[in-house]
Every structure is written in structure tokens, then in C-alpha cells.
């Protein structure tokens, strides 16, 4: 009932605003404004009202987090939600604001510092893309220098188990272990940092391998054509007919049997399996790109000059296929990263004692039920899962921008 009333009020507001806009249109100062007021529809106003309501409500909720302890009386009088005990929403908004500002500052810095080329690039960039680049750089630093950043080793076991995060001894924490320890006493902050190194590093290696296999076979198929192309394309069609995660799980079952008690071998098997499965997509793309290049005149000329296969592929095709392949590399990396994280989450991916985010999410997931009592503890699994999400979102933002730029989609 309340819902219907709200909808009716919204609708009435939208209609009223539209009529008012039409009436006011001739009096607007500029021609653009006149046209906008004349043409704007009910739906747009309905959307504006909807959006403003949502924004106001979330600001209200956010203020409730900010003044959780002592809310001024005047604010309490106009506040819809009132003071909030749980900090999750506040953390989220804080994070978004902080990352937004960081991305913006990064863009400003990029516009003023650096070479002419990089300055120009940063000038054309939307905030989302600069945020993405910033995050990727941060993750790269964190992964490469994990040994120096992490306070302890990833497999170090301490005698204090199940310490709560926060580092406050009164609440069951320990300042030496900022994020607490897990059920066998490993420092969670260190494992989070090393998890980044392992997950990102393995995903990166897998993507590189997939690209090596995919592009070389794809370009070969495009150049040679004939039965070689037919054979490879049919094999790829067949491999792509099974959903990737399902096939990966099936092959991992077999890999587990092969690896036997040597669990470390399993990680290598996983890299190979996912790389091969993923190279099918790379093959499709590089073959399609290669096909377009092979019919060009300059390629024909090179072929008639009698250049050998390696020259044709490396000097003629590869330089012309850079842009789409680079964007595809970003997308593939995301996909591989998510597949590895999912496999680890399901318990058949990266094996202990190596730390990784997927397994961490699974191991810590039951803490989410303590959200009402200890928000920090409940945030632990979300922290690991969010770390995965943040990187893929960042890469996707950059890829989105790159595709937009290279395709010239201006609309």
C-alpha cells in the first residue's frame, strides 16, 4: 500500500514537472534550454525524482553512520533512518569516495607530470579508467613486493589462534596481528597480501600462457589456412561447446588423480588446464584479426617477396593486431582470474600452504554471521572477495576505455 502511494506521488510529481517545464519553455534564457524544456518527457522526470530520492536516502543513511554516537538534535529531527550502529554502508561509501578522489588526483598528476604522450593520454581519460590504472599499479606493487610488505610469512603459524581483527586486546585482538589470525594461527594480513601475490601472479602467468598458445596457433591458422585451419577450428569449436568452469572442474578431477599426494603439482596442472581452455577464445580472436590482415595488399606483397613464416607472423601480422589483442588480454586476465578464484573457492584450485583469496573467502565465510556483533570480523571474507572484485573491476574499466577509444565509439 505504502509502495503504491509513493509511486503515485512520484508519478504525479513527474507529470506536474513536465507540464511546468512545457509552460516555462518559451521563457527560458537560451535556445538549448528552451528545447530541452520543451522535449523532456515524463519518464525522464520520473527518473530524476527517483534518482534524487535514492541519493537523498543514501546520504541520510551515510550521515547516520557518520554521527552514530552523537547525532545533533536538528539532524535527528530531519533524518529518516536515524543513527546507524552498523558501519558496512559507511565503509562502502568511504571506500568509493576515497577511491574516486584517488583516481581523480592520479589523473591530475598524470596530466601535469610525465611525457607529452602520457599527458595527452591522461587528458582523454575518464575518471573510471584512471582509477583502474591506479588500482592495477597498486596491485602490481603489492604482488611483486609482498615479501617486504607482509609482516609475516604466508605459512607461519603462531600460537594465538582465532584472534579477532582490529588489534585491540580488550576485544580479543592483538596489535601484532592487525587482521587477526585464522583457525590454525596464521596471520591474516600476511595471508591477504601473499594471497594477492599468488592469485594475481598465477592468473597472470596463465593468461600469458593462454595468449602464447592462442595467438601463435591463431596466426598460424590465418596464414596457412587449408586443412590446418579447419582442423584447429573444429577442435576449438568442440572445446568451446562445454562451459569453461565445468570443463575445468572435470579436468581438475583427473589432475587431482594424476597429482596424487604431490599437491604442489596440482597448481601447475591447473595453470596448464585453464591456459589451454582459455586459449580457445584467444585463438578465435587472433584468427579473425589475422584473417583480416592476410587479405591486405602489404601482406600479399610480403608473401610474394618470399618472406618466411616467422617474418610474416612477427613483422606483418603482429604489429597490426596489437590493439585488439591488448584489450583482449585485459578481458582474458579478468576471466582467468575469476576462474582461478572460483576453483579455489570450490576447493580444487590453488592448494595450501599457498595463501590465496578464493580459499580465504571459503575458510572465513562463516564469520559473516557475526556481522551484528563484530562488523570487522564479518568484513574479513568480504575483504578477500572484494580484493578479487576490485582488481577485475579496475581492469574492466581500463579495457572498456581502451575499446571505446580504439573503436572510435563516440555515438
Amino acid at each position: 500500500m505504502a509502495f503504491t502511494t509513493i509511486m503515485m506521488i512520484w508519478l504525479a510529481g513527474a507529470v506536474g514537472l513536465t507540464l511546468a517545464a512545457k509552460a516555462l519553455a518559451p521563457k527560458a534564457p537560451t535556445v538549448e534550454m528552451q528545447e530541452w524544456l520543451r522535449d523532456v518527457g515524463y519518464v525522464a522526470f520520473f527518473g530524476y525524482i527517483f534518482m534524487i530520492t535514492i541519493v537523498l536516502l543514501s546520504v541520510d543513511y551515510y550521515l547516520g553512520y557518520w554521527f552514530a554516537e552523537d547525532m545533533p538534535a536538528w539532524l535527528q529531527a530531519i533524518s529518516f533512518f536515524g543513527p546507524q550502529k552498523l558501519p558496512f554502508y559507511g565503509w562502502l561509501i568511504n571506500g568509493i569516495i576515497m577511491f574516486g578522489i584517488a583516481g581523480w588526483i592520479f589523473r591530475v598528476v598524470g596530466r601535469t607530470v610525465g611525457t607529452e604522450w602520457s599527458k595527452k593520454m591522461f587528458r582523454q581519460m575518464p575518471v573510471t579508467a584512471s582509477f583502474g590504472i591506479l588500482i592495477i599499479i597498486l596491485y602490481a606493487i603489492m604482488s611483486i613486493f609482498a615479501d617486504f610488505i607482509a609482516p609475516y610469512g604466508q605459512a607461519d603459524v603462531f600460537d594465538k589462534i582465532n584472534l579477532l581483527p582490529g588489534g585491540d586486546p580488550a576485544l580479543g585482538g592483538d596489535p601484532a596481528h592487525l587482521l587477526g589470525t585464522d583457525q590454525i594461527g596464521r596471520d591474516l594480513l600476511s595471508r591477504l597480501i601473499y594471497g594477492g601475490q599468488n592469485t594475481v601472479g598465477i592468473a597472470f602467468a596463465t593468461t600469458c600462457l593462454a595468449f602464447f598458445i592462442g595467438t601463435s596457433l591463431g596466426f598460424l591458422a590465418a596464414t596457412l589456412g587449408g586443412w590446418f585451419d579447419q582442423l584447429l577450428s573444429r577442435i576449438v569449436d568442440m572445446l568451446m561447446a562445454i562451459p569453461q568452469l565445468i570443463f575445468a572442474l572435470l579436468l581438475m578431477t583427473i589432475a587431482t588423480a594424476w597429482a596424487g599426494s604431490e599437491r604442489s603439482l596440482l597448481t601447475i596442472y591447473m595453470v596448464v588446464i585453464i591456459a589451454v581452455l582459455d586459449s580457445t577464445r584467444v585463438f578465435r580472436l587472433s584468427r579473425a584479426v589475422g584473417m583480416n590482415i592476410v587479405v591486405m595488399d602489404f601482406f600479399e606483397a610480403a608473401k610474394l617477396r618470399g618472406e618466411n613464416l616467422a617474418y610474416l607472423i612477427f613483422k606483418e601480422i603482429l604489429p597490426n593486431a596489437y590493439a585488439p589483442l591488448l584489450a583482449e588480454f585485459g578481458l582474458r586476465f579478468c576471466f582467468v582470474f575469476l576462474t582461478i578464484a572460483s576453483l579455489s573457492f570450490l576447493g580444487v584450485g590453488i592448494q595450501p600452504p599457498l595463501a590465496d583469496w578464493g580459499t580465504m573467502v571459503k575458510d572465513l565465510s562463516q564469520f559473516i554471521n557475526f556481522a551484528a556483533f563484530s562488523p570487522l570480523t564479518a568484513a574479513l571474507p568480504l575483504l578477500a572477495a572484494g580484493a578479487i572484485a576490485l582488481l577485475t573491476v579496475a581492469v574492466n574499466f581500463v579495457v572498456d576505455w581502451m575499446l571505446h577509444r580504439s573503436s572510435g565509439l563516440k555515438e
Partner: protein, 327 residues
């Protein structure tokens, strides 16, 4: 004609996939019989089981036997069940250990989950997709773009735990565990399925919305829409009578393709919510290496995937005269 060709291609693909799955499983080191018996494998017992399961026959014959049975819905005997019933000396019912027996109820559950997801996701994403296309480059379009991109890039379990946190722990509206069973009332079943379905919706709707937006933008750029606009028709009429009938084909395609996306999502989401579907059975069997079940689940998933892709292709062919009569 071209549809028949596509159908035939689908059947051939299915056949090849079954060969692939069977070959992959036969790469396993050791022997099924030894796997069943484990430590207590005496040569005589191994030999007996090998005969029983037909493992002593040549590869091709075994494949054909498995394939013919699989088509008829008989996927063999589960190892995990076989340990207890047929080879443990107990007198369990004949049907107890069969994979098909395990699979059937879970298959129904998964289909239920997928239908609930589709029922929620399709209308929402089509609506938002069309709006984003109509008001493209507006602030609404940007917000929709950023949020769908973030939703696509997040792993399914991240979205799942966020939803659990918000809708099950902080505001106990929906149960975080989907322990559904046979003979449950529809309303209760729906309530318990809601959280996994919502998680899948977030993943699939984002994909669907982006594809719908692209399809509609493509369409709105075509000359006949511009003509309709220049004739002075109202925007509403242009959308409903000129754009929509032509948009139907790409939209059906989008829906079918995205239901195929669902398949991968189902596995992770079912594990998170302990939903008794095929995905969970699959992951459990992978962990205990119950090969016949893994094989069967893989085949079911692949069949669903191929079928949905086939539907998408055929719909595209039916709705587009240019594809129906190729040059």
C-alpha cells in the same frame, strides 16, 4: 533447410562433446575397479568388478555402451554409493546407487532455480537496457554502465556474500541457506530459492542489460527509425511499433545466450547457498572423484549449454530473413 543444418551441427557437437568427456575421464591413472576397492583390492575382487562394470572390454565398445545408456537416461552407478550398496555386501535396492537416481531430483531443483532467476532477471534487464539505450550518455546511462560493469566483474561468491550480509544477516528477510526438499510448499520453496536466484540475477541481468542496450542502440541508428522520427511520429510510437518488432530478434538471442551464462554461475552459487542442485552435486563429486557422477553432470551441463546456444542461433535465423536465405 539452414535450420536443419544447424540442428544437425548441434547433434554432431553433442556427440563430439560426449566423446571428449569420455576420453578425458579415461585419462585417469589406474582403474575404476581399484578406485572402488581402495586399500582392500585383491586381484580376484578387482577382476570381478572389472567384469561387472565392463572394464575388460575395448575402449570403443565401452564408449558406445556408455553413450547408448546415457541417451536412455542411465548414467551408470555412482562410486560413492557403490561402496556402500552393491559392493559392500548390503542388499540395498537396485536403484539406490544409480547416478540417474541421484541426478533427477537435483536437476529439477536446478531448473527451478534457473526459472526463478530468468523470471526476475529478464524483465528487469530488458527494461533497464531499453532505458539506457533511449537515454544513452545521460547520467542514468553512466550509472547503469558502471554498476553493471562492476557486477559482471565481481566473482559470484562476492555478490552472494554481500547479499547474505544485507538480506539475511543484517536484515533477516530471506534465509541464507536454501535447504529445499521434496514436497515443500511452493511459497516456502520460492522464499528459500530467492537469495541464490537474486545473486544469479545480478550476474546475468548485468550481461543482459549491456547486450540489450547495444542491440537497441544499433537498431535506433538504422534509417527506418530515423524515417519514422522525421515523419513526426511520437517517440512512444516509434519505439513500440517500429523499433520493438525489430528488436525482438536480438533480444531473444540475448536472453538465450545469457541463460547459457547462467550455467557456470549455478555451480558456485549453489555451493555458497548449499542449494541441492546439480552444481553442488558436481562439485562434491569432483572432490571425492566420483567419476560416473562427474561424467553425467558434465554431460548434462554441456547439453544444456549446447541446447541454449542452438536455440539462440535458430531464433536468430528464424527472425532474420537475411540469415534464412543466405547468398
Amino acid at each position: 533447410m539452414i535450420i536443419a543444418k544447424r540442428l544437425l551441427l548441434g547433434i554432431v557437437t553433442m556427440f563430439m562433446v560426449s566423446v571428449l568427456i569420455f576420453c578425458a575421464v579415461n585419462l585417469l591413472p589406474g582403474d575404476f575397479a581399484q578406485a572402488i576397492l581402495g586399500q582392500g583390492a585383491t586381484p580376484e575382487a578387482v577382476e570381478a568388478i572389472r567384469k561387472d562394470l565392463g572394464l575388460d572390454k575395448p575402449f570403443i565398445q565401452r564408449y558406445l555402451g556408455w553413450f547408448v545408456n546415457a541417451i536412455q537416461g542411465d548414467f551408470g552407478t555412482s562410486f560413492a554409493q557403490a561402496n556402500f550398496s552393491s559392493y559392500g555386501g548390503s542388499t540395498a535396492t537396485e536403484n539406490f546407487g544409480s547416478v540417474a537416481h541421484q541426478l533427477a531430483p537435483r536437476f529439477k531443483n536446478t531448473i527451478f532455480l534457473a526459472s526463478v532467476t530468468a523470471a526476475v532477471a529478464v524483465p528487469i534487464s530488458l527494461f533497464i537496457g531499453v532505458l539506457a539505450a533511449l537515454y544513452r550518455n545521460s547520467i542514468f546511462d553512466r550509472v547503469a554502465n558502471i554498476s553493471t560493469l562492476s557486477s559482471i566483474s565481481s566473482p559470484e561468491f562476492f555478490l552472494a556474500y554481500i547479499l547474505i550480509l544485507v538480506l539475511a544477516v543484517l536484515n533477516p528477510i530471506l534465509p541464507s541457506l536454501s535447504n529445499i526438499y521434496d514436497g515443500m510448499e511452493f511459497g516456502e520453496r520460492l522464499q528459500k530459492t530467492m537469495l541464490p536466484a537474486l545473486t544469479l540475477t545480478l550476474v546475468v541481468a548485468a550481461h543482459m542489460m549491456r547486450m540489450t542496450r547495444a542491440a537497441i542502440i544499433n537498431l535506433l541508428a538504422s534509417p527506418f527509425i530515423e524515417m519514422a522520427r522525421l515523419k513526426g511520429l511520437s517517440p512512444f510510437r516509434v519505439i513500440l511499433f517500429h523499433a520493438f518488432p525489430n528488436a525482438l530478434a536480438p533480444i531473444i538471442n540475448v536472453v538465450a545466450l545469457n541463460l547459457a551464462f547462467l550455467i557456470t554461475g549455478v555451480v558456485v552459487v549453489e555451493v555458497v547457498f548449499v542449494y541441492p542442485g546439480i552444481g553442488q552435486l558436481f562439485v562434491d563429486s569432483v572432490k571425492i572423484r566420483d567419476i560416473p557422477v562427474v561424467q553425467a553432470c558434465c554431460l548434462v551441463f554441456a547439453a544444456a549449454y549446447i541446447l541454449l546456444n542452438l536455440t539462440a542461433d535458430i531464433m536468430a535465423i528464424i527472425s532474420n530473413p537475411r540469415l534464412r536465405h543466405p547468398k
